[in-house]
Every structure is written in C-alpha cells, then in structure tokens.
C-alpha cells in the first residue's frame, strides 16, 4: 500500500516525464533515420579466414565484448575502470527503473529489499560519478579531449543518481518530502530531453558501431581476435 498519495504537483511532473520520454523516442527515431541516411558499405572481398570467423561470428563477438572484460587489454588491465563502468551503468538502469516504476507500480519500490538494492545501486553509481568527474578534471589527456558536454553529461548523471537515492528513500517512507521525487522526475525529464543532443546518446549508436566493426573484422577473420 503506497505510503504517499501523489499530489497534483507530482502528477503534473509525471506527465511531463512521460512527455519527455515521448520526445526522446521521437528524436531517437529521427536520429536513427539520420544514421541510416548515410551510405551502407559492402565487403566485396571474399571471406578472409572462414576457419577463424565469419561476419556474424565477428558481430556477435563484438556485441558481447561489453560483457567480456578479459577480451580487451584496456579492460583487462583497467579492471577498476571496467568495474566502475559496470556500477555506473547499473546505476543508470536503477535510475530509469525508478523513474518509470514510481509512476507505474510504486508498490514494487516499496518492498524493503528492492528499495535497499535501488539505493545501493544509485549510491554506488553516484560515488563512481564523483570519481569520474574528478578523473576528467585532473587527468591531462581527458581534459584535452573533453568538451563542456562531456563534463555536463557526467555531472548531470551524478546529480541524478544522488537525487535518485533521496527519491527512493522518500518512496520507501524513509524521508517525508515529496519534493525529492518531484525534483527527481524533473531531473529525469530534462535528462530525457537532453540525451539525444549529447554524448549520452552513445547507447543508441553503440550497438550499431559494435555490430558493424564486428561484421567487417569477422569477415576478415580478425574478430574474435587471438592474442598471446
């Protein structure tokens, strides 16, 4: 049983949130059309090494790469960064779930175990976010390549995680101020509208980039790759 009845303010913010989502979906669709408006490529050369790989094998390997930290030297050596990547992105999953469930089925978020998991995930992601902001500011090569959008995006998400912790605490009845959820949903709405114009939209392109490079290199036999 919900501990709080949504106020008019909260209901309005929820509507804004759904509108923001619809906006994001629309812009994303346009973005995908835009991506596909560019010329596709064909590998005319015969397969490189069928014993070793095929385009499909390469593409699947490439897509699965995110879950194989041992595959790339960068994630193998930078396992701490990989771990932080996992935590950060689990935080994103938790944050999005929180935003939707808070209006679709808030009772789920009121289950103590779920609430605790959500707060831990969001809290951990917040900590990682802070670490990422510091890393971006203090590391010379990251400073060199970073744009205002890079800083803003990571700050936006880090703040979002923090507000998410409070919003979840409010839903779980540990805090008694609806404004936490209102701010959270407004933050989410802004996030949804901003994402397609920022680098956060990488997750839209990411599967395509990975699929295509995997397909190309799979055709040549160099993906999945061998190392020693």
């Amino acid at each position: 049983m919900p501990q709080h009845e949504p106020s008019t303010l909260l209901s309005t913010v929820e509507i804004i949130h759904w509108l923001a989502l619809a906006f994001m979906a629309l812009v994303y669709t346009i973005r995908l059309f835009w991506l596909f408006s560019f010329r596709g490529t064909k590998d005319r050369q015969p397969p490189g090494n069928l014993k070793q790989s095929t385009p499909m094998k390469g593409a699947i390997y490439s897509l699965g790469n995110v879950a194989m930290p041992w595959a790339m030297e960068s994630t193998r050596r930078g396992w701490l960064f990989y771990l932080s990547f996992v935590i950060f992105h689990l935080g994103v999953v938790a944050g999005i779930s929180l935003a939707f469930l808070s209006s679709l089925d808030r009772s789920l978020l009121e289950i103590p175990a779920v609430s605790t998991v959500m707060m831990v995930m969001l809290g951990a992601a917040f900590a990682v976010g802070v670490g990422r902001i510091i890393r971006r500011i203090v590391t010379p090569y990251l400073r060199l390549i970073s744009s205002p959008d890079d800083y803003f995006s990571v700050i936006l998400l880090t703040v979002w995680f923090l507000v998410g912790v409070f919003a979840q605490a409010y839903i779980a009845g540990k805090l008694d101020n609806e404004m936490f959820l209102v701010v959270y949903l407004l933050n989410t709405s802004f996030f949804l509208v901003y994402v397609p114009f920022s680098k956060i939209s990488h997750y839209l392109y990411y599967p395509f980039a990975r699929f295509w490079i995997g397909r190309t290199l799979g055709h040549r036999g160099s993906f999945p790759y061998s190392r020693g």
Binding site: R39, G48, N65, Y141, D149, A209, L217, S222
Partner: protein
C-alpha cells in the same frame, strides 16, 4: 574586427568529407564517449606519457570536430558545447597533417581496445585522405603516391630495371642449381599462379624474389610474374586516397585476369596484402574472381601438402615473430605465420604481447617515407625494441616489408643484437631440394644475394675503378680494403667537392657516396653528379648511416641512385651490390 574566411582547401575538404561518410564511419564519429580507455593502447602514448596530444581519441577528434561542425545538429547549433570546429587556414591544415601523418601509424591497436567499437585508425585514415586530396601531405607520401600513379609502382622502378632484376635472379638460380628450370617466368599465359611483389624487393632485397622463385620451383608450381601490375603495394592505404587505392588494386587484378590465373599470391607485405586482398576490391568497386592469398599461406600449403620438404635444423638460431598490424588486426592473419615458422625453425620464441595485441613496428602507415617524423618514430620504437630484446632472439621474423625497414631502423637505433628476416628467407634456407645443388651449402641469407665464394670474391670487382666518398677516414679505409680485396681500384675522396673533382678527372666505374659530410654534403654532390653530362651516367650507390635521408635523395628532380645501403655495411653485401649494379649497367651498355 576581421572575419576569418575559410581557405579554399578547407572548403574542398568539407565537401569531400560528405562523400566519405558511411554508416560505419558515422557510428565511429558519434560513438566516442571520451572515456580514455584507448589511451594506453597506443605505442605513441606509452612512449610519450607527458604529451596528451598522442591520445587516440584526440587524434580522431580532429575529424570528429569537422564532422560535428558540418553534419551534427548539436555541433551546428552549439559548436562550443561539443567542441565542433573546422580548420580555417592552410596553416591549420598543416597542423592537422602533423597529427594525422606524424602521430599515428593507423595500426588499429586502439580500435581493438575501444569498448564502443570506435575505429580511430579508420577515422585517421579519412583525415589523411581529406588532406591528401588538397595536397597537404608529407613530401615522401606525395612523391611515392606520384610514382604509384604515374609509373605504376611506389618506388618508381622502371620496367627494364624490374625485368633485369628478374633475369639476374634467374641467373643466380641457374648458377646455384646448375640448370635453368627454376628461371622466373614472365607473363606466362595460363599460369595457375601470379606472384606479385613489393618494389622494395627489386630495389633493395632481390634475394626475396629469388627465394620465392626457388620455392615455387621446388613445389613444381605453374607460376608467373608479370611485366605490368606486379606491384601489390598500395600507397592509397597510407595517404587515405581511395581512388589511388582502387587503381593500384585494379592494375594487379586486371593482369591476373589477363594471364587467366586461378590464384594471386602476394609476397610478404602487410599493407600490400591488406590493400590488395581486403580493401582494394571495395575501393575499386570490383568483385575479384580468383583466389588471393599471402605467400605465407602458399608456403604453408606447400609444406603441409608435401610439395616442398624442409629441414628446420637449418634455422637453429632463436627466432621471434613480429605481427604486422595490417596482417594481424586488419586481416585476421594470426596463426599461419607461426605454424610455418615452427616448421622451418627450431627455436621459436613468442614476443609479448602478440597477434591482435602486438605493437606496431612504428614503420607502419607509411611512416618510413615521412622522414620529418623520424625522431618521433624512433622514440616510440622503444616499446618494440624492449619487446624484441626480451625474447633473446637473434632473428626477428616478420611478414611485411615495411616492418623489415621499421625493425631494422629501431634495431640499429637501440643497438639490439639481431637481424630481420622474412618467412620466405627461412623457408628457402630450410628447403631440401631433391636434386643436387651446385653450391656446397645454401647461400647465407643475411646477404643481399649469395656471397661470392672466395675464389670468385677476388674477381667480383676485378678491373673496376670505384670512387669511395666518405668523410670518416676509418670508413674510407674499411671500404677501400673490402673493395680492393674484391679486385677493385679505389679512388678515395673525403667530401663532395673532392669527389666531384676526382669523378670529372678519373671517370670511375661506380661511386659509393656517403650523405652526411662537412662542406659539400652527399646530397648536393649526388645532384651535381646527376646533372653534369660528364658524370650523369656513373652509377652511384649511397652508403649512409642516415637511412632517413632516403627520402631526401629520392625527392631530388634527378634519376634516383642505383643502390642505397645503410651503415654499417656487410662486406659481402657491399661487394655483391656493387657487382650487381655494374653488371646491370654493362648489360644496358
């Protein structure tokens, strides 16, 4: 306040960029999150830890910025927010050239380490292509590309020199085998195999052609080389010029089709193999109807099918293998060279990391032709030098001519005690021929061609008058002793002025010329020799401790030298090279 106007070149580049954008390229342009995961995968970064401009995403961002400013909505509306911008002046393009050509070898190591699947190497190649299209490129790349466009091969080898070299190699084989059945066939219609090579083999390393011919002969192959379309290398890959890339590929494909061969065998050259086998069909928009394979695969097949017999104990020194970036990361060519190496050598030691994770030899991406970046290249080569040293190998084997040059350079620079060979050399060395060979033992393969036997040695240069030009007395004495032992008469000179005076007076048969000398240096003297009607026909072999001057010499608006050797020279190699040059000259009359 003056408004800055984009230069014409910049406008042309922007128009061209639109044509180069494919879905895959755009995905790489928009997919980077600037996470920095690729940073430490680059050999330049690892050897220049204090210079952030070597980080791969910074290099890719040079193109990304232009893309965002022209094609991305956020970049067009709020350019400062996403760092979108375009170069404005020709000076900006020069700065861009320094990054695209001078700070990246397009080795693709960062691509393999990017969690987002961003292909930084391809983006850098596109930047190079845009710059090349408006004539902004290192001089060496321009000269080599021009030769490939106009003469049909990247080293400007003339048809008669190429055919002379094949004939010379055939004669060498005849001397060794006692018959002419191993002679190199040229333009043999209906041959099953066409063998295409790197012009470097003609110019500097003809023993690789001879070794390949010996292997084809031993395997009983029905093969041929061709008078046209024999250069499998492709500077289009390095300059980013897809049109040149397509033309080079087509020249080879058309010749193979004309011969009617089933198979094109590509000699050991990483970028040549990648271009001819994997890229040029796409650049040229043609479907190739015959098999294309690396000579490594061919040799491995011969051994496995029992078509040739090898005795690995003939290669008993410790060897290690360097993966060419183009062969490995871009063509999936990981295991076959190792399999072959284990069959022809007894002591193979891997270097680490290897295969897809191997570091570039630092000579990739056309770097060997860009002498202005030599100090950077050699600095970044420290990593490779350490990798090699850790193996304790006496021989570094690689399947790439660029790598041979890159590795030789770094071996010299870092004082390593090893030499570089290709698999074709090791296979030829290990080859067991069913028939008796005239020579008592196989030719030592560390020399350009088989060393003259002692009796022949004294006669090798008998009666020849050689002008030896070097400012260092020790070197002059050494060269004089070696060449006199081979029967030559020596005319010494210690600088360019003296050399010119002696040459005018004495009309030597050949000149060995050092480049770096006080007073009139070797480059100036070389040009004057070539320009003077009295000396223009005297063959010149450059003998220098500065291999990076190669470009300077080959850029001169005069015919290139007949030979080019790096110091320290091996005695036999020197004698053999001079003998060969003189024989070719005699033949031409």
């Amino acid at each position: 306040m003056s408004v800055q106007v984009k230069s014409h070149k910049v406008k042309v580049m922007e128009e061209l960029l639109a044509k180069k954008l494919t879905r895959q390229v755009v995905a790489s342009l928009v997919g980077c999150v600037h996470c920095g995961m690729c940073h430490e995968s680059c050999h330049y970064v690892l050897t220049n830890p204090d210079d952030p401009t070597y980080t791969p995403s910074y290099k890719a961002d040079q193109l990304r910025k232009i893309f965002k400013a022209n094609h991305d909505w956020t970049g067009r509306v709020f350019p400062w927010w996403v760092k979108a911008s375009t170069p404005m002046t020709d000076d900006d393009l020069e700065a861009l050239k320094d990054i695209a050509f001078g700070k990246c070898t397009n080795c693709r190591r960062c691509t393999f380490n990017c969690p987002m699947g961003v292909d930084t190497a391809t983006l850098n190649r596109i930047t190079r292509g845009l710059l090349s299209a408006v004539g902004v490129m290192p001089e060496g790349v321009r000269v080599v590309s021009k030769d490939q466009w106009e003469i049909g091969n990247q080293m400007g080898v003339l048809k008669e020199d190429y055919l002379d070299t094949l004939e010379w190699m055939s004669e060498e084989l005849e001397d060794e085998l006692g018959h002419d059945r191993a002679a190199i066939p040229v333009d043999k219609k209906g041959a099953k195999v066409v063998y295409a090579i790197n012009p470097r083999e003609v110019k500097y390393d003809p023993r690789t052609i001879k070794n390949a011919a010996l292997i084809f002969y031993a395997a009983g192959e029905d093969w041929t080389m061709t008078t046209e379309g024999w250069d499998q290398t492709n500077f289009g890959l390095f300059s980013g010029d897809d049109q040149l890339g397509g033309i080079c590929g087509k020249r080879v494909y058309e010749k193979v089709a004309e011969i009617g061969a089933e198979r094109l065998v590509i000699s050991e050259c990483g970028h040549g193999f990648r271009s001819t086998r994997c890229e040029a069909p796409n650049w040229a928009g043609v479907d190739v109807g015959f098999i294309m394979e690396s000579s490594v695969i061919t040799m491995l097949r011969y051994v496995k099918e029992g078509r040739i017999k090898v005795d690995k104990t003939r290669n008993s020194r410790r060897v290690t293998f360097h993966d060419s970036c183009n062969n490995a990361r871009s063509c999936g060519f990981y295991e076959e060279p190792r399999e072959l190496l284990r069959l022809v050598a007894t002591d193979f030691q891997e270097m680490y990391p290897n295969r897809a994770e191997n570091y570039c030899c630092t000579g990739g991406g056309g770097a060997m032709s860009m002498s202005e970046y030599t100090p950077r290249r050699l600095k970044s080569a420290k990593l490779k030098a350490d990798q090699i040293a850790a193996t304790g190998a006496e021989v570094v084997v690689t399947s790439c001519h660029n790598c041979v040059d890159g590795l030789n350079d770094l071996i010299k620079h870092y004082g390593l005690k090893c030499e570089v060979k290709q698999l074709v050399d090791l296979v030829a060395e290990a080859l067991v021929l069913e028939e008796p060979v005239v020579e008592e033992k196989p030719a030592p393969i560390e020399v350009v061609e088989p060393a003259a036997r002692p009796a022949e040695k004294a006669a090798a240069l008998a009666g020849r008058r050689i002008l030896v030009v070097d400012d260092e007395e020790d070197v002059r004495t050494f060269l004089t002793a070696v060449l006199e032992d081979a029967g030559a008469t020596i005319l010494p000179a210690k600088d360019g002025d003296e050399a010119l005076a002696v040459a005018m007076r004495e009309k030597p048969d050949i000149i060995t010329l050092d480049l770096s000398m006080p007073g009139k240096d070797g480059v100036e003297a070389f040009v004057e020799f070539r320009k003077s009607p009295e000396t223009e026909n005297i063959p010149i072999c450059i003998v220098t401790g500065h291999p990076e001057f190669r470009k300077v010499i080959y850029d001169r608006p005069v015919p290139p030298p007949e030979g080019y050797m790096d110091k320290p020279v091996q005695e036999e190699k020197l004698v053999d090279n001079l003998r060969r040059i003189l024989e070719l000259k005699d033949r031409k009359g």
